[in-house]
């Protein structure tokens, strides 16, 4: 039985090193071809007609004027007469034409008659949602009534975090060509190995007929798993246009309206505890929406899951808005924001430093020791003890404050298969049906193969992004790095064993006594007995060595190449101008573990990126709907705000790389680092102001309103 475990930390030459991402030059020279860059011969352009109404019945559709436009090749009705539309932006028709401009003209020329129905698009006030609320039932643990009756201190607070969108820079969409015996599909996707089957199902075709290719993709964050209705319609337009390829990507407004959102979360939270900071009771009444299906239920209380006495009530609200999709750590940023806000407010009320209260209460979390260490490290990096003062002691116009957010995530590797081939000329090829969504997956796979084979990274050719390669899971839930690293490791070890068998007779050493190191095959314990990699491969003969490796989630934890359970602490320092209400980020600190870190350089970038996303969500991002028209008011990038370079302050990232974390194997990183930042920033603002701003994003209007409320109280 082959030995797959990772080489000891101190012996690794490639893994764990700060390697620049391999596809960096392609991206930074503009030569990387994203799906939206695919210009095939005879390309047609697709455009969608979407519903302006949030709730309506399609009465009739008149295509005559659109059909008459020269250059239109096909028009399809997606939501025909009688269809009940449940959110604005719903796809009604699709058009293909020889230019994008003509396709848009045709969309404008289609006449649709709707019967407009009543809609609901706002959920910030639960009292106003009426029958659209659906209670999820009460959960009770211990005796919360007694805990609150006996408590030395109690707090109650209202908190809210709105719906936000993914706002992927490359919009959703694809280029697709319906050929005689296959469909070529170039989607912007997080799921190369599964999206083809998804499209085939929608088109009622055998899965074998869909050929998927996606070498680069411009951001997904959880929103780009399915083939989507627009993918299937692009395919049908191609078919109806004689198989000519159709490029159809959503325009920005449609992208921000229907291509995925993160559910909102609102809650009234009561905390009971002792004056020494020990929390004894929790009660929350929360509600959330993820669109028409309701959806969104944050795990409360977050991280501090074993507060002894708890009562939770949650209500789902169904709205006539575009549906939710997974958004980098589904439900967790909301849960962290709600929980850490309530705990910070409790600390403020009893006059304790929230850092002390967090330290005291991580005892009721799943990983108390890790959190204690991480809180201490983050506090050191933030210089917390020197900087912290209670919110009531702040003076002046510009007031600074500190806050904490906490994170937990699974992150075990997904199912993944990898094929590694060693040729007689010494070249090595890795094939894996995974995708690089900007997380340096391509680079990390290369590092694992190079480490295992004792070769430089330049000797390894990694092929991914195509569904003709062995299947590997979608990139969601921070499962990719564990999955692909483990399958690549196993494929490389298996291939190496075959190579050792080939060269053992020549070297006069038993195959199991050989190892690969520094581009050589070497006898263990006798470095003088060695063959160069090239010489060794010459023994392979005409048929290359080609071996598979597989990560099976069921047994992965036992094998130890990847496991789950990432923890993180984020701390923020902000400065608030109490006259203008503007919140400025001074610094955000992240301390993050994710087990064995394959590439600290790209891992740090990913964490820094998550901090910036947290800044966006804490200060700027909010999908604003209008109850009168039922539409999204800010479905553009001018009023759907994202942070720019001047907005992010100083970012300090500390990857918690230690022998004990390393020994846990690889754990995913993408989600855990994107969880705690909003809480940290919101809490820092509360500390600076001496009053809680109940709702993020912390716009000047909300900050000033919170200050005014305090004055009026």
């Amino acid at each position: 039985m082959a030995e797959y475990k990772w080489p000891p930390m101190e012996k690794r030459r490639v893994m764990g090193k700060r390697i620049a991402r391999l596809d960096g030059p392609m991206k930074s020279s503009g030569r990387a071809k994203y799906p939206s860059d695919m210009n095939r011969a005879d390309l047609l352009f697709g455009a969608l007609l979407t519903s302006p109404h949030a709730h309506a019945k399609v009465k009739s559709i008149d295509l005559a004027a659109a059909k008459a436009i020269k250059g239109v090749t096909a028009i399809r009705i997606i939501s025909g007469p009688g269809t009940e539309i449940q959110w604005a932006g719903t796809e009604v028709c699709a058009v293909s034409a020889i230019t994008e401009e003509i396709a848009r003209d045709a969309v404008k020329a289609i006449k649709v008659d709707y019967e407009v129905l009543p809609h609901l698009v706002k959920e910030d006030n639960l009292a106003k949602v009426g029958a659209r609320a659906k209670a999820a039932g009460e959960q009770v643990t211990g005796d919360p009534d007694k805990a609150f009756a006996d408590a030395e201190a109690k707090t109650s607070g209202d908190y809210g975090i709105p719906v936000i969108t993914h706002c992927c820079l490359e919009p959703h969409g694809s280029v697709v060509a319906w050929g005689a015996d296959k469909i070529d599909f170039w989607p912007s996707t997080q799921a190369v190995s599964t999206v083809g089957g998804d499209l085939a199902k929608m088109l009622e075709l055998p899965a074998t007929q869909v050929k998927v290719d996606c070498q680069y993709m411009g951001g997904g964050f959880g929103a780009k798993f399915p083939a989507d209705r627009w993918g299937a319609e692009a395919a049908r337009l191609s078919k109806e246009s004689g198989g000519r390829p159709v490029k159809m990507f959503l325009d920005r407004a449609t992208e921000l309206t229907i291509a995925g959102v993160r559910p909102s979360h609102f809650a009234k939270i009561k905390v009971a505890g002792k004056k020494d900071g020990t929390i004894t009771g929790w009660q929350s009444e929360s509600w959330a929406t993820g669109g028409i299906g309701g959806g969104g239920m944050a795990p409360l209380p977050y991280v501090f899951t074993n507060i002894p006495n708890r009562r939770m009530n949650h209500t789902q609200v169904s709205l006539n808005t575009g549906p939710a999709r997974a958004w980098r750590a589904p439900n967790h940023p909301q849960a962290s924001f709600l929980t850490c806000s309530a705990i910070t407010d409790f600390a403020d009320t009893i006059g304790m430093d929230p850092l002390e209260v967090f330290l005291k209460n991580v005892a009721v979390s799943a990983r108390p020791e890790t959190y204690k260490k991480q809180l201490a490290k983050a506090a050191e990096l933030m210089d917390w003890k020197k900087k912290y003062t209670h919110g009531s002691k702040k003076t002046g116009t510009l007031r600074r404050g500190l806050g904490i957010g906490i994170a937990t995530w699974g992150g075990a590797g997904h199912a993944s298969k990898c094929k590694l081939t060693i040729n007689a000329d010494g070249t090595v090829e890795v094939e894996i049906g995974s995708q690089d969504i900007g997380t340096a997956t391509r680079t990390c796979i290369t590092q694992v193969a190079a480490e295992t084979l004792g070769l430089p990274m330049s000797a390894i050719k990694v092929k991914l992004g195509n569904n003709s390669y062995p299947p590997s899971g979608p990139s969601g839930g921070s499962t990719t790095i564990g999955g692909v690293s483990s399958s690549t490791r196993k494929a490389a070890v298996n291939a190496l064993e075959k190579l050792f068998e080939k060269v053992a007779p020549t070297m006069g050493v038993a195959a199991d006594q050989l190892e690969a190191d520094d581009s050589r095959v070497v006898a263990k314990g006798n470095p003088s007995k060695a063959m160069s990699w090239k010489q060794a491969c010459q023994k392979i003969g005409p048929t290359p060595i080609s071996e598979m490796g597989e990560n099976e989630p069921r047994v992965a934890a036992r094998e130890g190449l990847n496991t789950q359970g990432a923890s993180g602490i984020q701390m923020a320092e902000v400065e608030v101008d109490i006259e203008t209400g503007v919140v400025r980020i001074v610094e955000v600190v992240a301390v993050q573990d994710c087990g064995l870190v394959v590439n600290p350089k790209t891992a740090e970038s990913q964490v820094a990126g998550a901090l910036i996303m947290s800044v966006c969500s804490a200060l700027m991002e909010e999908r604003i709907t209008d109850q009168t028209t039922g539409r999204v008011l800010n479905a553009d990038m001018e009023f759907y705000k994202l942070a720019g370079l001047p907005d992010v302050g100083k970012l300090t990232v500390h990857m918690d790389i230690t022998p004990e974390h390393d020994a846990r194997g690889i754990i995913g990183l993408g989600e855990p680092c994107a969880i705690g930042g909003v809480a940290a920033i919101a809490n820092a603002a509360a500390n600076a102001l001496g009053v809680r701003v109940p709702m993020v994003p912390l716009t000047p209007e909300r900050v000033l309103a919170a200050l005014a409320n305090r004055r009026n109280a």
């Binding site: 960096g24 820094a608 990038m637 720019g644 370079l645």
Partner: protein
């Protein structure tokens, strides 16, 4: 946030019709519109051209003359991406906010989505494809790689062209100037930390030639 691609003069476009000047004239604009450069050009162009239907124009792109058939309403960005297969510039917001389509026209940094192809006839257009010969990397691109100033990479070409235009005018920038000078571009993955270091390194490299 405000974007601050060069805003040297407070002038209103008068004659030439560009998508951005229309936006401004229509009162839709916010602080993000960077009309200064286009306004200068508009001042210079005194005779309004009237065109309709598809016309063949010649664009001067990266030192090469390229013929392309466009309707007058086609933006420079769409001419590049949809008709000339030059896909380095990306279409993201399509409304002059995010900078993913940044190109340099006549030495000036512009959003390709906010200028019409017919309006840049006769002006030298530089795109990311022309920054370095095939197989080579411009020092700015190299610095972005070194500092991992990219994740998904979709905003990267726009940032690199914005950096090029910025460093051409500010060869010795401070971090504060970089923040301001590149604030007309947006990244969703959050690569600003590496980007600040990359721009500083690129400035040094370019100076050392």
């Amino acid at each position: 946030m405000s974007s601050s691609k060069e805003k040297p003069k407070d002038q209103q476009p008068k004659s030439a019709f560009s998508r951005r000047s229309w936006l401004q004239g229509a009162g839709v604009s916010g602080s993000v519109l960077t009309t200064g450069l286009l306004a200068e050009d508009a001042q210079a162009q005194t005779v309004a051209n009237v065109m309709s239907g598809e016309v063949e124009i010649t664009l001067d792109i990266n030192g090469k003359k390229r013929s392309v058939k466009v309707e007058p309403r086609v933006t420079l960005l769409d001419a590049l991406r949809n008709r000339l297969d030059m896909t380095g510039a990306k279409r993201v917001c399509d409304r002059g906010t995010c900078g993913a389509c940044t190109v340099i026209v006549g030495g000036k940094v512009m959003y390709g989505c906010s200028v019409l192809a017919v309006d840049v006839v006769g002006k030298p257009i530089q795109t990311i494809e022309g920054l370095a010969p095939e197989g080579q990397l411009h020092p700015i691109s190299k610095a972005f790689v070194n500092h991992d100033a990219q994740q998904c990479g979709y905003c990267t070409p726009g940032f690199i062209m914005a950096t090029k235009g910025f460093l051409d005018r500010n060869p010795n920038p401070t971090v504060e100037q970089i923040d301001k000078g590149l604030s007309g571009n947006l990244c969703r993955c959050g690569t600003y930390m590496g980007m600040k270091a990359a721009v500083l390194e690129a400035a040094k490299e370019i100076k050392n030639g």
